[in-house]
């Protein structure tokens, strides 16, 4: 059975992450980068400090210079970064990039890339979606086998941190139809390759995503990550991991919005009393509190199941993402409403959380996608 309580080490990691992020990457830092329309989309300096803190190596095995704190550990960092809206390539590189290599990388690939990832010098990005609706079972980007390697054609959308990545992890079809379960292969693609075009796009949460187009891009045979034609199971595992960590981030964000909202209820006076004394608002807050308590349980269960390699890790990851999406939506909507007119102004932070919540929800499937998947995995 999954571990549902942090051990001492994990708790220390969480506390340290919180302290660091509150100081170095608070919401004001997010605003600064947003308003400066920073081209990188995050601060290289803060990223270096995160690497210094060991964030980038949290999931990397000790043999490759990492700390092997596991997903529960990494999840605490994600949760805390959700609280401050910290901008960084943590998800794209330290979670998804590292996991892609540990799940599917050859020894040579691991030895070459993991240490650089741990030192934050190398950034990866996962290119999976091809349309606005998340559907990893449908891959149309094609890699044709040619003499020595592959020729890549197609288009990927919403590639997180794609515009700054040093390598792209690309899911492409090496055989079969768009929906065939076999025939997908993962590739490590250098964005500098001729025929690869990367265009940054500005999203509602002021985060980075990119459209990536491949026009007869030539890849060497060594670009293959994992088994040819058998990339879909790895991709699905990667998405589970991504979703568990997105759920952790959403948990942090949700708690932060909730705490700020409760605080506002205590401070804001209307009709001569604190609005928190109105029972209708109390009950809504208490209900939301309950929903968040349930969310906490699902997030740690998913992270812990990933660490244990439990059979039901896929179910638990979808459970966590579905619930995180639903509760974050509720909490951010209630947050704006209960902040009243001030919640509608850009000056207040609550709108920033609202924007990030929807983007994180949609990344790799929202509550509806994961409810469907949960039902399917449970046989109905």
């Amino acid at each position: 059975m999954a571990t549902l309580v942090l051990n001492e080490e994990q708790q220390m990691l969480k506390d340290a992450a919180r302290g660091f992020l509150q100081e170095r990457a608070p919401v004001t830092e997010f605003r600064r980068l947003r308003d400066a329309r920073d081209a990188t989309g995050f601060s290289r300096e803060v990223w270096a400090a995160m690497v210094e803190q060991g964030f980038a190596g949290t999931l990397i095995p000790e043999a490759h210079g990492g700390f092997a704190f596991g997903h529960v550990g990494m999840g605490q960092i994600m949760e805390e970064s959700g609280r401050t809206l910290a901008l960084s390539p943590l998800l794209s590189s330290a979670v998804l990039g590292v996991s892609a290599l540990t799940l599917a990388g050859s020894e040579a690939q691991q030895a070459e890339l993991l240490p650089a990832l741990g030192q934050g010098e190398l950034l990866l990005a996962l290119a999976v979606d091809e349309s606005g609706r998340h559907d990893p079972a449908c891959i149309r980007t094609r890699a044709e086998h040619n003499g020595s390697g592959y020729t890549l054609n197609g288009c990927k959308t919403f590639v997180l941190d794609g515009h700054v990545a040093d390598r792209l992890i690309v899911a492409a079809r090496t055989s079969g139809d768009a929906r065939a379960t076999d025939g997908v292969t993962l590739f490590l693609v250098n964005p500098g390759t001729a025929g690869v075009e990367v265009e940054r796009t500005i999203m509602v949460d002021s985060r980075n995503a990119a459209e990536v187009r491949f026009n007869d891009a030539e890849l060497p045979a060594e670009a293959v990550l994992g088994q040819v034609d058998d990339g879909l199971p790895v991709l699905q595992q990667l998405l589970d991991i991504g979703n568990a960590h997105l759920a952790a981030e959403l948990l942090g964000l949700t708690q932060e919005v909730f705490e700020r909202t409760v605080q506002y209820l205590k401070e804001r006076k209307q009709f001569g009393v604190a609005i928190g004394s109105f029972q209708a608002l109390q009950h809504r807050a208490a209900d939301l509190f309950s929903e968040i308590e349930l969310l906490k349980s699902t997030v740690i269960a998913a992270l812990s199941a990933l660490d244990e390699g439990d059979d039901d890790a896929d179910q638990l990851c979808s459970l966590a993402k579905a619930r995180a999406s639903k509760v974050a939506e509720l909490a951010t909507n209630e947050g704006v409403q209960l902040h009243g007119g001030m919640g509608m102004t850009d000056e207040f932070d609550v709108g920033l959380f609202l924007k990030r919540a929807r983007a994180a929800q949609q990344t790799f499937g929202d509550q509806r996608y994961h409810a469907q998947r949960f039902a399917r995995l449970r046989g109905y």
Partner: protein
């Protein structure tokens, strides 16, 4: 032939002769509207002509008395004018808080002098008005307003701050709630005063919303002189007028759940985004949610029609406006959430890219304000509980 038939025929002829062709096309965006006022720059000669011609007949305020520049139309005639304008898709010649809000209040509560001073310029679109109700500290508790008007004999000196003033930076005059009696209990001691935005001490600052730039402003009032003859109604008795104006406003906002004519229904947008599979929306969960919304929205539409039919039939509509405001704005918020979900990551583009040019997330974010402005959903529920259900 009845008088009304004659009126209809003459109106039709006049409109045919006087409404410029370009004013007979649907507005493409908010930018096409004509707001008038001292600072106004007409978007086209046709826009200017159309305003001028309509104003001359008083048809920018068709049901106001002719002595104040209005059209002097009775209800039936007014309805015919609307029908005939709709027939040729004539644009509204003037968008105006003067016509919609303060004009009717002055007509109902103002002195003869105020009517003669303010109504004709409103009809002609010469003066653009803005409202000064909300304050940073007050929110739903409007009666708790703090802007102070000190009695200086023939005038007041006003100090304070107003917020959520639409287009304050573009307006010429403000109708403004101020506290004229600091000792009276809340609602008592409030007055509605009028002043020119060019009066020394008045300054404005636009508010950026989570959805981006907005018509809203903060307005700072720093020792602003307001003549006593610019009080609407009696001094200290402004609360009644404020309530009258608020009910007006609530009714305007309540229509949010209704789909704008000509725009696509949610179901159509859902089909665009998700596609059909065997005649059904290709995603089960979204189909269920879209259907639920669609059912509720149709029921809401029918209810708005029913309330209006009841009003026409002379049956009281009770506090229906609170219910329509509450339900309509919540419905629109749900609609916007669904549009975001239907379009997945395509809905997230804030700039340039994607098929929506960033309008989708902006509309979604803006909709969050619907259940706050014009009285929060919570206030509407309070009103229903107390006034209709008599709980409390």
């Amino acid at each position: 032939m009845t008088d009304l038939d004659t009126f209809r025929r003459e109106t039709r002829e006049w409109l045919e002769a006087n409404c410029p062709e370009s004013m007979r096309t649907p507005m493409q965006s908010d930018d096409d509207a004509c707001w008038g006022g001292r600072k106004w720059t007409f978007k086209s000669e046709d826009q200017r002509l159309w305003l001028e011609r309509m104003a001359e007949r008083g048809w920018t305020a068709p049901d106001w008395p002719t002595e104040y520049g209005g059209g002097g139309l009775n209800k039936d005639q007014h309805k015919i004018l609307r029908q005939e304008m709709a027939r040729i898709q004539a644009r509204s010649p003037l968008n105006s808080f003067g016509v919609w809000m303060i004009g009717p209040a002055i007509l109902k509560f103002g002195s003869e002098a105020l009517k003669r001073q303010h109504l004709p310029p409103i009809v002609r679109g010469e003066i653009r008005w803005c409202q000064g109700y909300s304050e940073p500290g007050a929110g739903s508790d409007l009666a708790g307003l703090q802007t102070k008007a000190e009695d200086k004999g023939d005038h007041f000196i006003v100090n304070g701050q107003k917020i959520w003033t639409s287009y304050a930076d573009k307006a010429d005059w403000m109708f403004c709630l101020v506290r004229t009696n600091p000792d009276a209990k809340k609602q008592a001691g409030i007055s509605l005063v009028l002043f020119d935005m060019e009066t020394p001490g008045v300054s404005t600052r636009p508010i950026t919303l989570i959805s981006g730039s907005s018509p809203f402003c903060e307005t700072f009032l720093d020792n602003v002189r307001v003549e006593k003859d610019q009080v609407v109604g009696e001094v200290d008795q402004g609360w009644t007028i404020a309530k009258y104006l608020l009910t007006h406003e609530r009714e305007m906002i309540g229509g949010f759940g209704r789909t704008a004519a000509g725009s696509k229904t949610l179901a159509e947008q859902a089909v665009d985004a998700v596609g059909l599979d065997n005649g059904r929306l290709a995603d089960d969960m979204l189909r269920a949610e879209v259907a639920q919304w669609d059912l509720d929205a149709r029921a809401f539409e029918l209810t708005a029609e029913r309330v209006s039919a009841q009003a026409k039939a002379g049956q009281g509509v009770g506090a229906a406006s609170a219910m329509l405001k509450y339900y309509g704005t919540e419905l629109n918020k749900r609609r916007q959430e669904l549009l975001m979900a239907l379009n997945g990551t395509d809905a997230l583009y804030w700039e340039g890219k994607g098929s929506f040019d960033g309008s989708l997330p902006r509309h979604w974010l803006r909709s969050k304000g619907n259940s706050i402005e014009g009285g929060t959903s919570e206030i509407q529920l309070n009103v229903i509980a107390k006034n209709i259900l008599e709980l409390g």
